[in-house]
């Protein structure tokens, strides 16, 4: 009798255990993804042009690759990742979507949205929101928020990286060509600040314009734009990409082109050969049938950050975990990456690429910083540009 009792107890205990196990198996981790509806950048004809620094496909791609490669750890921890991807049509809609995803149980959000939309979405939720597609400095400076993280480098990080590279090469006299769009003007201001920060000399700055008006044709003539002055490099600012792509080898003087044509700073380049990068590039290519771009890398890294935080702490503590001093990420770029506590920008090396291979890395050798040399790229702590403390 006692034996039978013991047995039935054991059976009951076994049942209970297997029930708990079943429950434990079902721990979900929901990642919300918000992108813009009718994204011009993703029109097939645009994507075919494959301008560096611009998206090569949906944001979801990088997130899916991150989940795929983490499956072994996720299974071991009995975490089941789900993704809910939605599109927003306006800043208000982005706000509503963020709030709705939070209600639906999302643990974190990953976005690629215009600046105002990103701010609206971040303001609508207490969840950590990881920006993987917007490089605007404003989101890291006066528009920063305690729950707003960035895996994509900022505009300033890109231009600091290039300025460092020019400094290392001693190509210090720069001719700056700037496009006509408001985004070009804004980026050009950031570039000029980097030029100044690294002691480069701005020889001249000239506007270019691809125009339908034949009277403005000279404004797109590379020989005229690069003639009549001497310089070590031409820095072209072109958020569209068409003019910059065709500028190298067409300058009046035989000088390199950098910026949005020629040599560019990128978060990722598909043919990077070091630090395990080829494996990540191959995984992405195999799963998505296209090369991994900088924004894909940022989306992948955002999902990896969420997964890594969820593997170490309960979902409610994700943000605290990601803000932790010992929270470091492996970005396949050879350094330990982490979120800067002052603006929650992911510190990371940048890849200098001509679109074919990776020529060098930034920070360049010889650049020094009192704490972490990666913080020579972008806004540093003492500048106190972000007032929202974590």
């Amino acid at each position: 009798m006692t034996d039978r009792l013991r047995t039935s107890r054991r059976v009951a205990l076994g049942l209970l255990l297997s029930l708990t196990a079943a429950l434990a198996q079902a721990v979900p981790l929901l990642i919300g993804v918000i992108t813009r509806a009718d994204d011009d950048r993703l029109e097939p004809k645009r994507v075919e042009l494959a301008y560096l620094g611009q998206p090569g496909g949906p944001l979801r791609s990088g997130i899916d690759v991150a989940i795929g490669e983490s499956q072994f750890e996720l299974d071991a921890a009995k975490l089941q990742v789900k993704v809910e991807a939605v599109e927003a049509t306006s800043a208000d809609d982005a706000k509503a979507q963020a709030a709705r995803l939070e209600k639906a149980g999302a643990a974190a959000l990953v976005t690629d949205l215009p600046t105002a939309w990103t701010q609206a979405a971040a303001a609508a939720t207490k969840l950590p929101l990881l920006n993987a597609g917007n490089a605007d400095n404003l989101l890291r400076e006066q528009g920063c928020r305690a729950n707003l993280f960035h895996t994509l480098p900022s505009e300033r990080m890109f231009s600091d990286a290039l300025a460092q590279t020019l400094t290392a090469r001693k190509w210090s006299r720069v001719l700056l060509l700037t496009g006509p769009e408001p985004e070009d003007i804004a980026r050009s201001a950031v570039v000029q600040a980097s030029i100044k920060r690294y002691g480069l000399k701005l020889v001249a700055q000239r506007p270019f314009k691809m125009s339908a008006d034949p009277r403005e044709r000279d404004l797109a003539n590379p020989l005229l734009l690069t003639g009549n002055t001497d310089y070590d490099a031409v820095w072209v600012v072109d958020t569209d990409g068409e003019f910059a792509r065709a500028l190298p080898y067409r300058t009046a003087l035989p000088r390199p082109v950098v910026g949005n044509g020629g040599l560019m700073a990128e978060a990722w380049a598909p043919r990077f050969e070091r630090f395990g990068a080829p494996q990540l590039a191959k995984r992405f290519q195999k799963a998505q049938q296209r090369p991994m771009t900088g924004i894909d890398w940022a989306a992948w890294q955002a999902a990896k950050a969420i997964i890594q935080a969820a593997l170490t702490a309960p979902p409610a503590k994700l943000m605290q975990t990601m803000n932790g001093a010992d929270f470091t990420l492996d970005g396949f770029k050879g350094s330990r990456l982490s979120f800067r506590p002052w603006d929650r920008q992911l510190r990371q090396p940048l890849l200098m690429t001509d679109g074919q291979g990776v020529i060098s890395l930034a920070p360049v050798d010889g650049i020094l910083h009192p704490k972490n040399v990666l913080d020579t790229l972008g806004a540093d702590a003492p500048e106190k540009l972000c007032k929202a403390a974590s």
Binding site: F72, Q279, D330, G334, R336
Partner: protein, 333 residues
């Protein structure tokens, strides 16, 4: 032996016998040839260095992207895993010539062998699997799924376990090679790379490249019992990226290549304390010791050279330029 050859020729007068004599001579020379082989990932070649004179004596062409190497068949042959050829090249140590190439899974990086040498266990980097290969035929016998980007592979002394690190899953997988299953996953530091057995096999030491540490696993209980953190004066914590690890012949000291911190650290196995460090080349990541433990050869991945270190004097003697992106070092002494 060389003196013997004319003698043989005079008395035997038989071509076959001469060939046999030459072969004998070759085999005898293969033992303790004093050659140091350095695989170079970008050159499809091995650089050969004379261990005593520390001078480059030759370059051996091999299959594509050679990485991990191991001496086999009583140190007469060198087995080289080539990631881009999916092959292992078998090189005759004495002649420096390739004698066979076998199929070797898919993108092999690091491998180890079964105790009888008949089976190879290799990390298939692209697949996220430990591939078990029959050395004689090159046939893949089994593929055991592990975390992504498996790297270090080590067979236990009794041959019953194979330890595999996964750089992405941040784990050591303990694999039963006969059943082809994972017995246990042990979470270690970030980006675990290479392993050694220390304390007479009671401890498994693994370097964590991005964890800046070495995790020590009890091979009895299969859990992490200690973590050694490294600090180098004048070097940033983030630059300390341990990869290569080797054990002194007396088992008392472990040598750890600290990657971008450009140093090798001496770790006292018993106390876990770092006792010495030496500055070597850029991204010091593979460490090999001579049999007597007097000299250490360190492959520097970013400066394309090998630094020779006098272990007793704790001093770098010389840096020798080798092929592009040196990966591994094997010493036949």
């Amino acid at each position: 032996m060389i003196d013997n050859i004319p003698l043989r020729r005079r008395y035997a007068g038989c071509v076959l016998l001469i060939a046999f004599g030459l072969a004998l001579a070759a085999t005898a020379h293969a033992k303790d040839s004093g050659k140091v082989f350095v695989s170079s990932e970008k050159d499809n070649a091995l650089t050969v260095i004379d261990a005593k004179t520390m001078v480059v004596t030759g370059v051996i062409k091999t299959c594509k992207r050679p990485r991990h190497m191991k001496l086999i068949e009583g140190n007469t042959k060198l087995m080289v895993a080539c990631g881009d050829s999916n092959k292992a090249d078998i090189i005759d140590v004495a002649s420096g010539k390739s004698v066979a190439r076998i199929a070797f899974g898919d993108d092999p990086e690091v491998f180890d062998l079964s105790l009888d040498g008949k089976t190879a266990y290799l990390s298939a980097e692209d697949e996220g699997a430990l591939t078990i290969v029959d050395v004689a035929t090159g046939k893949s016998l089994k593929s055991v799924p592990v975390g992504k980007e498996p790297e270090g592979v080590l067979t236990s002394p009794d041959g019953k376990r194979v330890y595999v690190t996964s750089e992405v899953a941040n784990m050591i997988h303990v694999v039963d090679p006969v059943a082809g299953t994972v017995i246990k996953n042990i979470a270690v530091g970030k980006r675990p790379r290479r392993m050694i057995l220390a304390a007479d096999g009671a401890e498994l030491w693994v370097t964590n490249e991005l964890g800046s540490s070495v995790s020590i696993v009890s091979t009895k209980d299969l859990n992490v019992i200690e973590t050694i953190k490294f600090e180098i004066k004048g070097m940033r914590a983030d630059d300390i990226s341990p990869v290569g690890i080797a054990l002194a012949p007396d088992g008392k000291t472990a040598f750890v290549g600290l990657g971008r911190a450009n140093h090798v650290a001496w770790v006292d196995v018993a106390s876990r304390k770092v006792t010495n460090t030496v500055l070597v080349g850029k991204r010091a990541w593979y460490v090999a010791l001579t049999r007597d433990g007097s000299r250490m050869f360190v492959a520097n991945g970013l400066s394309d050279d090998v630094t020779v270190v006098d272990v007793a004097a704790v001093k770098a003697l010389k840096s020798i330029p080798v092929g592009r992106v040196p990966y591994g070092v094997v010493i036949d002494d």
